[in-house]
């Protein structure tokens, strides 16, 4: 029996990214081949998904993610997303996706003004996305957060739209940052771009407390694998 094919996943590295290697390691462990892509690249290599990792891209100057969206690679990421490619933004990556207009809304300083760094319980609102297929709807995940600006904000109109379109994928059970409607992660309307504040790549080994993050990243690996051309 042949082994399952290892799909290629790009992990973008911005100056100030610091979870890029953890993300790459996690994907490797989950059966994918990660490719680190420097922010100055104008093109993406041949990959099935793109990950924008956590960290403090460009020092978080002006607003988190506000400068990273001008990185040359972001034009390629936008095109990739526009063509239906899977894009996952974790923490700072989520902030970048919002600033780049690939996801609606914005991440603001935590209501407490304190940096939060701990495991949080998440409720899975949708299990029918490429990022949550390994989880059950209504299921519960334990994944760590570590951020100072993770307070998701959408105005009334946008929030109503997110709710009615079913774009809210994850909610906090005990809101750590003041996010509106306890939102921890959302997808775009087409469902191929996902951003979340918690760090699934830091929860892929039960030795470190939880392996629930592997369910999220593993779902993405499954989704990418499904799109691979059938072996001849």
């Amino acid at each position: 029996m042949s082994e399952a094919p290892r799909p290629r996943v790009a992990v973008v590295v911005f100056p100030g990214s610091n979870d890029d290697r953890d993300a790459a390691l996690a994907f490797e462990q989950l059966g994918a081949d990660p490719v680190l892509v420097w922010h100055a690249e104008a093109e993406l290599p041949e990959v099935g998904a793109v990950v924008l990792p956590g960290g403090f891209s460009y020092g978080d100057y002006l607003r988190c993610g506000a400068i990273a969206r001008f990185a040359p690679v972001m034009a390629a990421v936008k095109q990739f997303a526009g063509e239906g490619g899977f894009v996952l933004g974790i923490c700072n990556g989520f902030q970048v996706l919002c600033e780049a207009g690939l996801l609606p809304g914005v991440l603001r300083p935590n209501e407490s003004l304190s940096f939060v760094c701990r495991d949080v319980a998440l409720r899975v609102e949708r299990a029918d996305t490429p990022f949550t297929s390994r989880v059950e709807a209504g299921g519960r995940l334990t994944i760590p957060v570590k951020h100072g600006e993770g307070c998701y904000f959408a105005d009334e109109e946008l929030l109503a739209e997110l709710e009615s379109e079913g774009q809210i994928v994850l909610r906090y059970e005990d809101n750590p940052n003041g996010s509106i409607a306890a939102i921890a992660g959302i997808v775009n309307r087409d469902g191929n771009v996902f951003g979340l504040m918690p760090h699934p790549e830091h929860a892929v080994d039960s030795l470190l407390g939880s392996s629930d993050g592997a369910l999220v990243l593993g779902s993405l690996v499954d989704a990418v694998r499904e799109r691979l051309p059938a072996p001849a």
Binding site: E111, S112, L113
Partner: protein, 79 residues
């Protein structure tokens, strides 16, 4: 030409930074009811006339200097 852009959290948007400043001022004995914290961007630019400069500054605010979802901005152009 010198221009100044003042970026503020929109009314109704929670401003935890402003709240912390307000509480600290009260602790110092200043009776402050509300504080809101924004950001100032001073720019030196040469785009010819004032109208054009204003229009360009407006675009800069919409595209980068402010996030229109949560922030309002005010542009001042020095003659």
């Amino acid at each position: 030409m010198r221009a100044t852009v003042l970026v503020r959290p929109k009314p109704g948007i929670l401003d935890p930074q402003g709240e912390a400043v307000q509480r600290s001022l009260e602790q110092l004995g200043f009776p402050v009811e509300e504080a809101r914290v924004g950001r100032v961007v001073d720019l030196e630019l040469d785009l010819g006339d004032t109208d054009r400069t204003r229009a360009e500054l407006e675009r800069m605010c919409e595209q980068l200097l402010a996030n229109p979802l949560i922030e309002s901005y005010e542009i001042t152009v020095a003659e």
